[in-house]
């Protein structure tokens, strides 16, 4: 089976963890060409060294008063934002694990492979198998790097139409074709009789609402739900079509790639995030999960929370949920009204790339797929959540885009292999004798 190239690349830019406050910083900057990494440290020092007398003291004051409070705020709402990311990551993993355990289609090994993993894994010879999995990984990673570079080049040269077309095509495929396949397999598993007209209706409605929510406007919760669903679908495809050992090596390699791509100065993902921040545009919604309302480009009066609140309330259909959430955010906003910047930070929340969702779910899904052991799945789940927590802690400290994959995937891999090989026999023996530790 051939998945389109858009799949491969688009999940890749999705691997980054971004805090949303940076775009407001340029308003305090005197010079815009200073590169972002220095911002976090010199953000507070810059007003002092700006060289202008009049704004100097004022800005120094502004910089100092929110200083301690900003730190405290960061940590205080750091916990809330960690939970706002825990919940969708958990939901995605739950969907993937539930599907893997019940629908056997995704664990059956087919002879078809993705064109990105051309080398077949021969189960007979360990050395050959290892070599082939490394070669598969190299092919896959080069495809991903290539696609990412194309995307960044397109973005830099403002070929928005091409990028949008590409993203729309890939979400079309996910929302219609993959969900049709998924639904078909679920019906087969539970032996549900279904006719085509009903199915067409369901898939059509699901897909169209999804396209609208993701690419245009929609209630926040619905958009989040759709993003979780498409990440889960993508993860399931990977679990099915990546060969056993290649999948593990690819997971390791992609977290290394994520680290390089986001942190190195010339890394493609970093350039993407920086360019988006320079232009003060949000990164495409189809690539990023946002835990709070996303502010659109050219939104007037971002410093006027009143109108913004009003706009937030009017947007989106489901009034009850929306109002609850916007009331909550608005209440938070009103309590910290001394700076519009703070208000904006509170509302924006934290963003996680969809690629991170996908690879976390691939790891946990593969843990669930191989063997019937639930302990391994649970251990990987906890490890990934702790990795995410640590990453968010680093995000709160460094305040710039960070790769969300390395720590979690490392913990996940370590715990998978150690739980599967060490803890499982131990717990099985204990359970057999009914000893409790």
């Amino acid at each position: 089976m051939n998945t389109s190239d858009s799949e491969e690349d688009s999940y890749n830019e999705r691997s980054a963890l971004v805090q949303c406050e940076s775009p407001t910083i340029p308003s305090y900057n005197q010079d815009h060409d200073v590169s972002l990494p220095q911002q976090t440290d010199t953000k507070r020092r810059r007003p002092v060294s700006s060289g202008l007398d009049e704004p100097g003291p004022v800005e120094r004051e502004r910089a100092s008063t929110p200083d301690g409070e900003e730190e405290e705020l960061t940590l205080k709402y750091g916990a809330k934002h960690v939970i706002m990311l825990f919940i969708p990551v958990t939901l995605c993993m739950v969907v993937v694990v539930a599907t893997i355990k019940s629908v056997s289609f995704y664990t059956e090994k087919s002879s078809q492979r993705l064109i990105y993993t051309p080398f077949e894994e021969d189960p007979n010879s360990v050395g050959q198998r290892l070599l082939n999995s490394f070669l598969n990984t190299i092919v896959m990673i080069s495809v991903i790097v290539f696609m990412t570079i194309i995307l960044v080049v397109l973005y830099k040269y403002r070929c928005y139409k091409v990028i949008h077309g590409w993203l729309i095509l890939s979400s079309l495929m996910l929302l219609f074709w993959f969900s049709f396949m998924y639904l078909g397999e679920v019906f087969k598993t539970y032996n549900v009789a279904m006719d085509y007209p009903t199915l067409v209706m369901i898939i059509w409605n699901f897909g169209v609402v999804g396209m609208i929510c993701i690419h245009w406007k929609g209630p926040l919760r619905l958009q989040q739900a759709y993003l979780i669903v498409i990440s889960a679908l993508m993860a399931l495809i990977f679990i099915k079509y990546l060969p056993e050992w290649s999948a593990w090596v690819i997971l390791g390699a992609i977290s290394i790639y994520d680290l390089i791509a986001v942190l190195c100065p010339k890394g493609p993902l970093r350039m993407l995030v920086e360019t988006a921040q320079e232009r003060n545009e949000p990164i495409f919604p189809a690539l990023i999960y946002s835990s709070a309302m996303v502010w659109m480009v050219g939104m007037a009066d971002s410093s006027n929370p009143g109108s913004a609140d009003g706009r937030r309330r009017n947007e989106g259909g489901a009034r009850a949920q929306e109002e609850e959430e916007s009331e909550d955010d608005a209440a938070h906003g009103r309590r910290r009204r001394y700076s519009a910047e703070e208000d904006l930070e509170e509302d924006r929340g934290v963003k996680l790339g969809l690629g991170d969702f996908i690879f976390y779910s691939v790891l946990v899904g593969k843990a669930a797929a191989t063997g019937g052991d639930w302990n391994t799945t649970l251990a990987c789940f906890v490890a990934i959540l702790i990795g995410l927590c640590l990453t968010l802690l680093l995000l709160a400290i460094f305040k710039k885009a960070l790769p969300a994959l390395p720590i979690s995937i490392t913990f996940g891999l370590v715990f998978y292999f150690s739980t599967d090989n060490l803890v499982r026999p131990f717990m099985d023996s204990l359970a057999a004798h009914q000893y409790y530790i």
């Binding site: 809330k80 939970i83 019937g372 639930w374 715990f415 150690s418 803890v423 717990m427 009914q434 530790i437």
Partner: protein, 253 residues
């Protein structure tokens, strides 16, 4: 081996822990994070103890069943000791975190007290311990089979669930007591917690003689509960205040 057994055992084993989570922990994000980190620490201790056990197994004669069983018992006790070591390590980590949070925040106190952290950490340990003991058993109970067909006890599932419940609650109480002991530098409390944990693990070695393991473990659970209640500042007065306040509220409404 039916759905009824599955749900019954699941609710027995995880009901109290789940309700504790929903009512006391789910609302506060910081507590959820401390809970999951506690689970992680328990997992680390299990990993290390399994590693030690695995090495000892591989280094020994796999045909000698008596030796294997003895090594397993050694693994049990070693795991208990390691769990307590990691509980202490988690205590140190939380203390450092509290100091960090308190130093940064406006008020002098941090958002969460050591006692609350003790409770949440204990519950984290308990939930993870219970989950690891019980989940595979639960998933097997959904499938076909006959319990005890080779002459083992028929009460496997229910006793497993009861034991898991006891252990979850015990870990919670031990967490409270342990942290309290560390805070006040009362080393005898810590020693008591460790030895009671060893005792409970030792009692479970009496299985399948369930009369020897379950009732004593529940007695210990009750005692621990009472001790933890008084240690964390509760008193008979506060208990009666809760009852009378509820009665007063009931009358007034």
């Amino acid at each position: 081996m039916t759905v009824a057994v599955f749900f019954g055992c699941a609710f027995i084993a995880f009901g109290p822990a789940f309700s504790l989570f929903v009512f006391t922990i789910a609302r506060d994000p910081l507590r959820v994070i401390i809970l999951i980190a506690g689970a992680f620490f328990w997992l680390l201790s299990l990993l290390l103890s399994s590693l030690v056990w695995f090495i000892s197994i591989k280094a020994s004669n796999s045909q000698d069943l008596r030796l294997q069983r003895d090594l397993l018992i050694f693994g049990v006790f070693f795991s208990v000791l390691l769990q307590e070591v990691f509980r202490f390590a988690y205590y140190r980590l939380l203390r450092k975190a509290t100091e960090g949070l308190a130093a940064i925040s406006d008020e002098d106190t941090s958002a969460i007290s050591v006692r609350q952290m003790a409770y949440v950490a204990g519950l984290g340990f308990g939930i993870m311990s219970g989950a690891f003991s019980m989940i595979n058993v639960l998933s097997d109970s959904l499938g076909p089979g006959t319990v005890g067909i080779f002459g083992d006890s028929q009460y496997y599932f229910i006793t497993a669930a009861l034991m898991t419940l006891a252990l979850t609650l015990l870990h919670t109480f031990w967490g409270v007591l342990f942290f309290e002991g560390c805070e006040k530098s009362r080393w005898w409390v810590i020693a008591a917690v460790v030895s009671l944990h060893l005792l409970v693990a030792g009692l479970s070695l009496l299985n399948p003689l369930y009369e020897g393991s379950l009732p004593p473990v529940y007695v210990i659970t009750l005692l621990m509960g009472v001790w933890a209640f008084f240690s964390s500042g509760g008193s008979l007065h506060s208990l009666s205040a809760v009852c009378t306040r509820r009665k007063a509220e009931g009358e007034s409404s």
